[in-house]
């Protein structure tokens, strides 16, 4: 763990906020007391207690800190795009207290040594918890198994293949069988490489008109089906990362009914944007999996509401300018997103596409359960908290974003929801200077 368990912060009391978590807690004007980095008391007991630091948070919502299952910190190896310090500070600004670090680094996180390096850097420079995800295949090349047991010993919370595909079904099956031996969760972005081929955008109306190379839905759905069948056979705990298709949601729901241990997440941008966003060749919307049709967006949202999709992730991928400064198909996929996940989610709440409880559940208890963590506003729980003001607005831009990557589609747009404070083990990981 990047933040030492022994840190003893001051006794702090949050007064006047609305407490909300993913386990059914929802009460307004309730005080919360933090002592020794943990939630010490809630409600009357907290009201009566003495504190070194009493913070009025009237009008704010207090939730457990957000947990991101897919975040690219770019370190080691891609310093021009970001580093552990810059991107974890951005995470804290976004209300996140725990981020799972993608194995797509250089070198790839496929050995205990790289895992230790990431954890060591995080321990000294990160204000939030950094939990590495190990590579399931050596070098993420998709053909040889990595030292999974060693990765788990070094502190990886799961193994996966980043955004890359495993070479074939036989190797995928062995990855799952081997991971299952150690009770590891495997995280895969489902994409059939031969069907995706050279594509980089949703194969649909917009790509047909613009002549962009499409990735058909079946590139994802065929991979989802294959992975579900292999998970059923091997008994591994499978987590499907960043679904983008309506049919995928149906298949996950059916698999769960059959008793397969499968969970799933979706990137926030998939719930907000569609293929229409790329109509002007705007490379800020070049993401993978690609932004799909409105019907897919609607089905993904229903998946979150119904709990078929457990978690919403940032899929944060900061880039340097050169990576996005080219014709659409020649740009790198991904956007700098972790600082605007909450705000985009609150827009969905404003439009009644999600309830606030569903949004917070998918950012806290949902993802936490997948990596075996607790996330609750309850006495004794770690004081990992996000305190935000839903009424206040902010505008992402070079002055307000902390991430080294500024290629976010929301730059220049006024968004609801300002994170007032992010606490990790009761210590301030982020404090807003505004308001």
């Amino acid at each position: 763990m990047s933040v030492t368990e022994t840190t003893v912060g001051p006794v702090m009391k949050l007064v006047g906020g609305r407490l909300l978590d993913g386990n059914g807690v929802d009460s307004s004007g309730t005080s919360l007391l933090i002592r020794g980095g943990k939630i010490a008391a809630i409600g009357e007991a907290a009201d009566k207690a003495e504190a070194d630091d009493v913070i009025q948070v009237d009008g704010c919502v207090i939730t457990p800190g957000f947990v991101d299952l897919c975040c690219n910190l770019r370190e080691p190896g891609n310093g021009q795009k970001g580093n552990i310090e810059s991107e974890t500070r951005a995470a804290a600004h976004g209300g996140f207290t725990t981020v799972c670090a993608s194995p797509e680094t250089s070198p790839v996180n496929d050995s205990g040594a790289v895992t230790h390096l990431i954890r060591d850097v995080a321990a000294s420079r990160s204000p939030v918890r950094v939990l590495p995800v190990g590579a399931v295949t050596r070098g993420l090349e998709g053909d040889l198994l990595s030292d999974m047991a060693g990765l788990a010993n070094a502190g990886c919370v799961a193994v996966g293949n980043g955004s890359r595909a495993v070479k074939n079904a036989r190797i995928l099956r062995r990855c799952m069988a081997y991971a299952q031996t150690f009770g590891l969760t495997v995280m895969f972005s489902p994409e059939n490489q031969s069907l995706a081929a050279d594509g980089y955008a949703h194969d649909g109306l917009v790509t047909s008109r613009l002549g962009l190379l499409g990735i058909p839905e079946v590139a994802e759905t065929a991979a989802v089906m294959e992975m579900l069948l292999l998970a059923e056979e091997t008994g591994v705990r499978l987590h499907l990362s960043q679904l983008s298709c309506a049919r995928s949601v149906d298949m996950v729901a059916n698999a769960r009914q059959r008793g397969i241990a499968v969970t799933a997440d979706v990137a926030m941008h998939q719930l907000v944007f569609t293929e229409d966003s790329i109509a002007g060749f705007d490379s800020r919307f070049h993401v993978r999996p690609p932004l799909r049709a409105e019907a897919d967006r609607v089905a993904l949202l229903a998946g979150v509401r119904e709990g078929v999709i457990d978690a919403i992730v940032s899929q944060h991928q900061p880039h340097d300018t050169a990576a996005k400064q080219a014709p659409f198909g020649a740009t790198e996929p991904g956007l700098s997103s972790i600082e605007s996940v909450l705000s985009l989610g609150l827009e969905l709440v404003e439009r009644a596409e999600l309830s606030l409880q569903q949004l917070i559940g998918a950012l806290t208890s949902g993802p936490a359960a997948i990596i075996g963590r607790e996330s609750a506003l309850a006495g004794g729980a770690a004081a990992d908290l996000c305190i935000f003001d839903m009424q206040q607005r902010w505008t992402p831009g070079p002055e307000t974003l902390i991430s080294a990557g500024h290629h976010a589609p929301v730059v220049g747009r006024s968004l609801p929801g300002v994170v007032r404070m992010t606490l990790v083990d009761g210590c301030k990981a982020w404090t807003s200077t505004a308001g």
Binding site: D203, G204, L205, T207, S208, R209, L210, G211, L212, L213, G214, P216, D276, S277, A279, G280, F281, D282, S283, R284, F285, A322, Q325, A326, P327, F328, G329, A330, P409
Partner: protein
């Protein structure tokens, strides 16, 4: 204008609706397309003179930036610019700067610094001219000479000019486009132009492997059977078939393609007797089209080439006019401020 605006008009038109870049036919209305055709008509006469020059682009520098090789399109752009009295620089980028690792943006900024007024751009990436006009050198008029599978607007407009010359109108016309629509920037621009100019029906005749997803949403009907598709046609446009389509398992063989989708006299006889035959070139004889048809009385393929120069003169002079008008407007706004 937001990034989500599907129409590229904020890029290619000035505030008062003049052309300042020519990137795509999307978003251009019938009046503007007709204006381009009329302007081209007036330039056809220039090509028939002994001295084939007009001074519209005198003192202007036009750079032909071909990131993909092309002989004919580049030659007609070069001739068009020279007939407008511009200074012309031809750069075959595929073999120069970018192979030394220079980025597209850097190459273009260097050329802009040499006081270029217009870039004629051909690129293998769909949207490359948009990217240049929007993010790299917005002050230089950009003419799209073909980008990826997206658009080839001057080719489509020279085809429209050819159709108008032979048919006198677009209303009521039945037009078919035959062959590899999936990979064709020409077809996408033609479908758009024919719809905007009022053609009665645009048919696509091709096998399923050569069709883009949801192709009918572009404004056309799909016909797999060529004999049925040829009925009552006023215009048939054949597309070029690249040899590599066999390797990608899109087609079994050239022979089977020619048998099913090649144009011969027998199939042409199924169309309207006055049906004209077009092809953007270069032609693969015996793959898309029989020689007897390509060289026959209904073929207007060589007219297309002649019209190519006039259309390019029209588009270049109009875009330069819009670009200059905008520069003057901006500098007078600065002076007032």
């Amino acid at each position: 204008m937001t990034a989500n605006d599907p129409s590229p008009n904020h890029l290619q038109l000035t505030r008062d609706g003049q052309l300042r870049h020519f990137l795509t036919l999307d978003g251009l209305d019938r009046a503007l397309l007709t204006d381009i055709l009329d302007t081209a008509d007036s330039f056809i006469e220039v090509g028939e003179r002994t001295i084939k020059k007009v001074p519209l682009l005198r003192g202007r520098t036009v750079v032909n930036l071909f990131f993909e090789s092309s002989t004919r399109t580049r030659s007609t752009f070069e001739l068009a610019a020279k007939r407008l009295s511009a200074d012309v620089l031809n750069l075959d980028i595929s073999t120069s700067a970018t192979s030394k690792g220079e980025s597209l943006s850097d190459t273009l900024l260097n050329l802009e610094a040499m006081a270029s007024d217009m870039f004629v751009v051909r690129h293998s990436q769909s949207g490359a001219p948009h990217f240049i006009a929007e993010s790299v050198t917005p002050g230089v008029a950009i003419i799209n000479a073909g980008d990826g599978r997206h658009a080839h607007p001057t080719q489509a407009m020279l085809d429209m000019l050819t159709i108008r010359q032979h048919k006198g109108r677009f209303e009521g016309l039945k037009v078919a486009i035959v062959g590899d629509v999936l990979h064709s920037r020409v077809a996408r621009s033609q479908i758009r132009a024919l719809n905007e100019l009022g053609a009665a029906e645009v048919r696509i005749i091709a096998p399923g492997t050569l069709l883009p997803r949801d192709v009918e949403s572009l404004g056309c009907k799909v016909e797999y059977d060529m004999s049925r598709g040829m009925k009552d046609l006023d215009v048939v446009i054949m597309l070029r078939l690249q040899k590599e389509r066999m390797e990608g398992a899109l087609l079994p063989s050239e022979r089977e393609f020619y048998r099913l989708y090649g144009l011969n006299q027998e199939k042409l006889a199924l169309a309207h007797p006055e049906c004209i035959v077009m092809h953007p070139g270069p032609i693969n004889r015996g793959v898309e089209i029989e020689s007897a048809v390509a060289d026959g009385p209904q073929s207007v393929i060589l007219n297309q080439v002649t019209n190519g120069i006039a259309i390019r003169m029209a588009v270049m002079s109009m875009a330069m006019g819009g670009q200059i008008a905008e520069r003057q407007q901006k500098s007078s706004e600065r002076a007032q401020a």
